[in-house]
């Protein structure tokens, strides 16, 4: 078996080590799977051995994706997390924990790449309190012994996964933008001004992934089996959920929108954001804001784009009346096309903008709305 192991695992790595670093796309993952069998073919191993190799290979990694949802629908960030999990190789199990959330489990089971769905449904899990979800994750980990535990780097994922990591005595890896191999991840530091590649030496990798850097897995086409998970003892005395005050909007959700229009201090008031809403509706865009606009009370906090707000990477980002501080750029500089409308020709935003218009936004924005 030792010889067999060496030929199947060590030899391919020795010959083509570069094939074992995943570069961030599903295609390259499949490339690895198919090409790494190459030495086995050369050695004339039978198809049977071949299958065995693949099965052993699959057992090497098994990932738990913690599903984010509102008890009714899946948050699309989970589909990005499933893609990230698929890049690691091996089984992908999804955990749906919540109250009356069976519909979400059914939705996840259809996603391509999911091998199994675990459902933890209890009224005590209302509000997704990390104190209560953590024991559920630990219970599923105890049962299935995952190598990776993954979630989207959203407010919920960021609040939950470090707590899980501490319980497992491992260091979490936050807000990953690329997966190089099952233990090596790329993340940004210093507000996106440096890319850090880190190797985790921990037995279990607890990872949150930046949704905008991983394509969403296909929502239809899979057929994973669902297993109900027994709810462990929950520390209910620690905390309770009271209420949510969510901003209501008909516009697309900021993190997943194809186009985003953001306003900054230059808008001068909350009422003037109406100009952006009108343009956004013409373009089917979401509306974001800089920290200055949020701090000045023009718009609610959950619209903030930046290092400490939301990270977006739409096809089109239009920054209106935003100077372009480091902290704001951290949240939008991966957008495909950036447009800046600002009356200050020296504003730093023009250094990252593909198309810059030096103009008074109070004239340019209505004109643009009218002409579209």
């Amino acid at each position: 078996f030792t010889t067999f192991y060496w030929f199947c695992f060590q030899l391919p790595i020795a010959i083509r080590p570069e094939l074992f670093s995943v570069q961030g796309s599903l295609t390259s993952y499949f490339l690895i799977c198919s090409t790494s069998n190459f030495p086995a073919i050369m050695l004339g191993l039978s198809r049977h051995t071949f299958r065995l190799y693949n099965r052993v290979g699959v057992r090497l990694q098994s990932t738990l994706v913690v599903v984010e949802h509102d008890n009714k629908h899946l948050n699309p960030v989970t589909l990005s997390a499933i893609t990230a999990a698929s890049q690691l190789g091996g089984d992908v199990t999804c955990l749906v924990a919540g109250s009356s959330c069976a519909a979400v489990a059914a939705e996840v089971a259809k996603a391509v790449g999911v091998s199994k769905v675990l459902l933890a449904d209890s009224a005590d899990l209302e509000g997704f309190l990390p104190e209560r979800i953590t024991p559920v994750i630990l219970a599923s980990h105890q049962k299935f012994n995952f190598t990776h535990i993954i979630a989207g780097a959203t407010a919920q994922g960021k609040s939950l996964l470090p707590r899980v990591a501490a319980k497992l005595d491992v260091a979490p890896v936050s807000d990953v933008v690329a997966i190089k191999s099952p233990d090596t991840f790329v993340r940004t530091i210093y507000a996106g001004n440096a890319m850090q590649t880190i190797k985790s030496n921990d037995p279990v990798k607890v990872v949150t992934v930046r949704g905008t850097n991983f394509a969403t897995a296909a929502a239809e086409g899979g057929s994973a089996a669902t297993e109900t998970l027994a709810i462990p003892d929950l520390p209910k005395h620690l905390s309770s959920f009271k209420e949510q005050k969510l901003s209501k909007s008909d516009r697309p959700e900021l993190s997943g929108a194809k186009s985003v229009i953001s306003g900054g201090r230059g808008l001068k008031s909350g009422e003037n954001f109406e100009l952006l809403y009108k343009l956004a509706d013409k373009l089917g865009a979401a509306v974001g804001a800089s920290r200055a606009a949020v701090d000045a009370g023009y718009v609610p906090n959950d619209m903030q784009v930046g290092q400490t707000g939301k990270i977006v990477a739409p096809d089109l980002y239009i920054a209106v009346g935003i100077s372009g501080a480091i902290q704001h750029l951290a949240g939008m500089k991966d957008s495909k096309t950036i447009v800046a409308i600002n009356k200050d020709p020296d504003a730093p935003i023009f250094q990252v903008a593909d198309f810059g218009l030096v103009a008074d936004l109070f004239k340019a924005v209505p004109e643009m709305t009218e002409k579209l």
Partner: protein
């Protein structure tokens, strides 16, 4: 109610500094670069001081884990109004491998030693951008956590905390002791006045070692490389709205 509050402070490169990657590509240049207290930690310190001013807290202890220069950061917190400070001192070499996994264990140990009822931390450090220490500290202590807090009220039963979440706000209650992490909107930190800076020099600062707090520095993660992010190619300035629309149409964006 008079709580003993513990506040974590991290010394980081100032938020306005444009960082540079080190030639060895294993970190960023820190020598000769302006450092200051992590902005989120200033908010945490301010909140703790406000709790003491509102007679909800009796003592505010600030703690930092880092190299000797972190004492300056702690002095700043003392000048803002904290009562005393603790530095868990690491060598520069040890500091390189320090992650939230270690800091959370250190903070949990200090909280136990101090008999703290409430730990307030910033939601993330603006250098490593991890957003993990508060959650991990709460886990080590088996305390409840209230992360990204924009409002904290101390009640007879514990805490009522408004949190900033993706779609808006959410309100939770926790028992005490608890760990809270501060979001930007929690408060507006005060400036230390000169008389307070002078007074802060007389306040007590204790230095502890890793063995004093019983934490071992296991290397959970190895930095493989630190690199500059890809640079965006220079864009163009358009002369009016019409040319902007034309350019966007040509690029297939509208």
């Amino acid at each position: 109610m008079s709580l003993k509050v513990l506040v974590g402070c991290k010394r980081v490169i100032d938020y306005a500094v444009k960082i540079r990657v080190r030639p060895d590509k294993l970190g960023v240049v820190t020598e000769g670069v302006k450092h200051s207290m992590n902005p989120f930690d200033e908010i945490a310190v301010e909140e703790a001081i406000r709790l003491r001013e509102a007679k909800k807290a009796k003592e505010v202890v600030v703690v930092s884990c880092g190299i000797a220069q972190a004492k300056e950061t702690l002095r700043t917190a003392l000048a803002m109004g904290a009562d005393r400070a603790i530095l868990v001192e690491l060598s520069p070499k040890e500091y390189e491998i320090m992650t939230p996994a270690h800091v959370s264990k250190i903070l949990a140990a200090v909280a136990k030693m101090e008999g703290s009822d409430l730990i307030i931390l910033g939601k993330q450090a603006i250098d490593d951008d991890c957003n993990a220490t508060a959650q991990m500290t709460a886990a080590h202590l088996d305390w409840p956590q209230a992360t990204s807090a924009s409002k904290v009220e101390v009640t007879d039963a514990g805490l009522t905390v408004t949190r900033e979440v993706d779609g808006g706000l959410e309100v939770i209650t926790t028992q005490l002791p608890a760990v809270v992490s501060a979001d930007l909107r929690l408060n507006e930190p005060r400036y230390a006045t000169l008389p307070n800076i002078m007074k802060a020099k007389k306040k007590k600062m204790t230095t502890l070692s890793l063995s004093d707090v019983g934490v071992e520095l296991k290397e959970h993660q190895t930095v493989v490389s630190v690199e500059e992010p890809p640079v965006r190619s220079a864009g163009i300035k358009v002369k009016d709205v019409d040319s902007l629309i034309a350019a966007l149409k040509q690029a297939g964006r509208i």
